[in-house]
Amino acid sequence: MRSMVLKIWLAVLVAVVAGCPLMSGVRAEAQLPVVAAWIVPQVAQGTDADRIASLEKKLAEQQVAVAAAQTSGDNSWMLTSAALVLLMTGPGLALFYGGLVRKKNVLSVMMQSFAMMAVVTVLWALVTYSLAFGTGNAFIGGLHNMFLRGVGLEPSAYAPTIPLQTFMIYQLMFAIITPALITGAFAERVKFSAMLVFMVLWTIVVYSPMAHMVWGVGGLLNAATGKFPCLDFAGGTVVHVTSGVSALVMALYVGKRAGYPKTPMAPHSVVLSFIGACLLWFGWFGFNAGSALAAGTLATSAFVATHFGAAAAAIGWTAAEWIRNGKPSALGAISGAVAGLVAITPASGFVTPMGALAIGLIAGVVCFFMVVKVKVWFGYDDSLDAFGVHGAGGTLGAILTGIFAKSTIYPIFGVGKATGLLEGNGHQVLNQAVGVAIAWALAIVGTLLLLVIVDRTIGLRVSAEEEEAGLDLSLHGEEGYEWSH
């Protein structure tokens, strides 16, 4: 074997070296403009009128070409962003959550996130895209776009330089991760079937209207045109407040896991959660910077804010933990980063890099106390802290956005017009509060209603035996890790 490998390898080496000279043939010409060839020799000919006419024609053609080039650049970033946001749910969130539960429930948790990737997608195509972004009233969209009717490849009012379907698929990824975030609250004890039905209804009843109000044409909270212009660049209220608050309601309604808090339920693999958290951070660039719906300076600004917010929050949480518990934990650091990403989400397109650092630091510390102290005080069992991180972080971020937003970054109210409190527009904080309040109200009422319905019909909770045996076995008939070989 060895000698044979040696021979093969030498052969390859020779081939390569032999190949090098041959390569001299490759003239790359990185420097010459790629299309130098195209330039038509500009010999002046014909009357001025002719030449002008031909110029006008060429210019018109080029206008089209320029628009196409602009689309390619922006669409390239938006498709990348859409993929990144999907990655946040699977495997990102699935791992983050999966690592935090006990071995016997790891697949059940990952399966819940994965189910959202499948079910919410079909639902979106059938009806929810239309409800969220179709033209309708101030609260919800119409049904004209059901089955994606009329959702084609031309640009749209939502994003002038990318195909409407790019916008549609990008927004879908948000609709997927939002319910997936909620699953953290009732992990390890709820029926898969009940979860499915609940989430389908929740997406229709809570997510769609909220998305429409904040981002939809004519939405009540639409920052540009709404009655209460609420700044939410990438979903602080739409995604995190709704999911976080619904998670809280869910945790209270469903009740604690058997044995909680007496029985220890330490994460079965912080390593998995670590991977998940890093993928969340990575994907979040698509989530926030992608929300610029183009690849220009605004995307850059949001990208920077996102990264700074995450980093500062990781420091904030870890420092708080270090001081309080005497040791900085990896779980703390990643939880902090996620909290920062949540808090910076609504602000990402409006704040300066230093503003992002401030928001992150605050969010890291606040969420730490929400999770470590507040949860214990109230004593509910939000298994994976969906509320402590997303509900609290989202609410905090939405308010802070009203404080730190700068017109120099994104003059959404007009160039030079004061945007946030620090710029002198105190009123904005109120508008932010309105947005948050509506999100809370909608989430509480909607979730409670749906919970009662689902509980009465299918029943939410698994049996004590099933919970004891673990959901992987009892609901899915499989195990995350095989012991025997």
């Binding site: 029985t263 220890p264 045996a469 076995l473 008939g477 499989e478 195990e479 012991w483 025997s484």
Partner: protein, 112 residues
Amino acid sequence: MQKIEAVIQPSKLEAVKDALVEIGVQGMTITEARGHGRQKGHTEFYRGREYSVDLLPKVKLETVVSDDLLDKTVQAIITAARTGTIGDGKIFVTKIDDAIRIRNDERGELAL
């Protein structure tokens, strides 16, 4: 000295441990185990292939106690580990001829 080996439900480990400490039995050694008995297993499906799993997760707890503590210990384990359903497990008792504490060569009951 007697060695008490108890095969119990994993979920009962904490309770049993506390019960033992309660009655002053500090020392014990635990190993993860798989058990087969009357308790029926379950089936799993992977890509449609059916696997019947009849080796179920158990925990094996061993503690060596002085003869006089035997009954008390056994009783403590039973009370803490019982759920009343098939699969609760067994307790086995054997005589131990000698025990040594590695740290300081103490022998016999002193070493427990």
